[in-house]
Each structure stands twice: as C-alpha cells, then as structure tokens.
Symmetry: C2
Subunit: 166 residues, 2 copies
C-alpha cells in the first residue's frame, strides 16, 4: 500500500522497502461507526472526545459476544486501512520533529493495527455502543477483548519523549 494523498512522506521521514508478501491474513469482523469522515476531523487522541461510537459486529460472530456485557471496558483492535505501512521515522504534523514509528501511536506503521481502550455503554444485538475512539467512520474491526486492569492498567507508565519534547 503506498498510502493516500493525506499521508505523503514529509521531509525528515524515513521509509523502508516492505516484504514482498504478507506472512498471515486477517479477517475484517465488523466495522466501526464514528462521527469523523476525514482524518482532520478525528480527535488527536481518544480522550479528547466523549462521542458515542458504534461497533457493528458481523452477525456471523455474534455468539462470541456472550458475557461481554459484563465488562465495563474493552480493548478494540482495528485496521487503519488508509495508512502507509513503510514509514520508520515520522514527523507528526502537530509535533514537528522526528520520532520512530514504534514510539508513536500513529496509524502509519508496518501493521496498521490500532488498539483502543473503550468504555462499554451497552450491547444491542450485534452492535456495541462505546466511548473512547478516535478513528475514521467505517474503520474495519479486527478484535474485541475484555480489559483486565490487573495486567492492562499501569497508571505510573512514562513516555519520556513526551515530557522532554512536547
């Protein structure tokens, strides 16, 4: 994938030649409906918005939702299908200097899989109402997991470059 016009390579960015073919395949198991139709519309991060979004699961997988309604928060994985995959060093527009792709949550990465922690409001049939997303409307869904605070919550974690450079 060469990336859409919105994601051109900026001065200071480094790219890589990707492997000739993928190693494994993913299924799109549903889609995510949000209020945001362009990348500029999207909040810079998920805590900037309390918009209610809808996760529409393909009915084929509906039985796998059993017990999910008992979870207050979920981990969602989804596929950022508009992003280039060959950027190793990026210059995010709102930061203006160079960062390694693996130090960023940018959608541009070798495997454009985003991870968001969302609050579950309710489930009606195959549709989950959630708060905590910042992705484009129509983004393909890959996975739903229960959020386990015992292993997933690390309040004291530090991202050093943010305090130094931002």
């Amino acid at each position: 994938m060469s990336g859409s016009k919105e994601f051109g390579v900026r001065p200071g960015e480094k790219t890589v030649e990707l492997p000739a073919k993928p190693d494994a395949g993913v299924y799109f198991i549903g889609s995510i409906h949000t209020p945001w139709r362009t990348r500029d519309d999207c909040p810079k991060n998920a805590r900037e918005s309390d918009a209610v979004c809808t996760v529409a699961l393909d009915p084929r997988f509906a039985d796998a939702l059993k017990d999910v309604e008992t979870c207050s928060h979920l981990v969602l994985l989804y596929w950022m299908d508009q992003s280039p995959r060959n950027l190793l060093v990026q210059v995010p527009g709102h930061l203006g200097s160079q960062y390694g792709t693996f130090a960023l949550r940018s959608p541009a990465r070798p495997n454009p899989i985003a991870m968001s922690v969302v609050k579950l409001l309710g489930i009606e049939g195959n549709n989950l109402r959630v708060i905590g997303l910042d992705c484009l409307d129509g983004t393909p869904l890959l996975d739903i997991k229960p959020y386990l605070p015992s292993v997933d919550s690390v309040p004291e974690a530090v991202v050093g470059w943010r305090t130094k450079k931002e």
Copy 2:
C-alpha cells in the same frame, strides 16, 4: 487453520465457518523469545511471571525504534499462530464453563492477535528486553507501541463474569 492437537474443540464449544479468504495481510516484523516451549509451560497470565523475555525485531525495521528507549512500558501485538480461529464459544480448561470468545483473552479468536502490556528493561541493537509476557517461544511479532497511561490505564475497569463465576 484447523488448529493444532493441543487446541481440539471441547464439549460446549461453538465454531463458525470462517470467510473464504482474508481481507488484509500482516507482516511478521520479528519474533519473541520466552522460556516457554509448550502451551502447558506458559503462565496463565502475564503477571504470574517476572521472566525477562526478548523481543527480536527484524533489523529492516530498526530505525523505527528511535525514542522507544524513553518509554517505561510498551504495548506489544503478536500473532498466536498455533491457535484455531473458528471458536465463538469456548470452555477454557481452568474455568470449565462456556464463555464468548470476545469475553476472553484466549489466543483462539478469529484474528489471533494478542496484546500485552510489558515493562521495558532495555534495548540493545534490535533486541528489547521486557517483562510481562506469557506466550510461546518464537511467537511472531506484529507491532510495538508506547503505552500511554492517559488513554490506556483504567484501574477501575471490571470484568463482571470473573467476579461472578470464578
């Protein structure tokens, strides 16, 4: 994928016919080295072990590690390539009753992508030393992300079925 012998379908489990072909492809960008060679060896969850594991990134992607050393914790995504993908309702051996796949962190899921939060001890070249994994030795790596407590940490999250049924 029909799954290995270790992952046979148990009484009470439900399967689904998967789509004929995948919707997108992932690259294996490295591999994870752990002390565990069989599924029975693996800790039941990552907080059960403080074993130091090594994430060996393919040198092709090394430039993308810039600034990662400033992160105290990382989100790792990896590919549970030994797992069946067609289970919707599972009966985990240590729980003994039925749960929806999306209410579990089991490696058996339509897209067998695991997510773990790890503590970063250090980086030498393309190798990251981390604590907090529970996967098999040789597991393929998909992504490395900075852990952002502002969006990723929810200490008060609840998984209701765990308190009711366990």
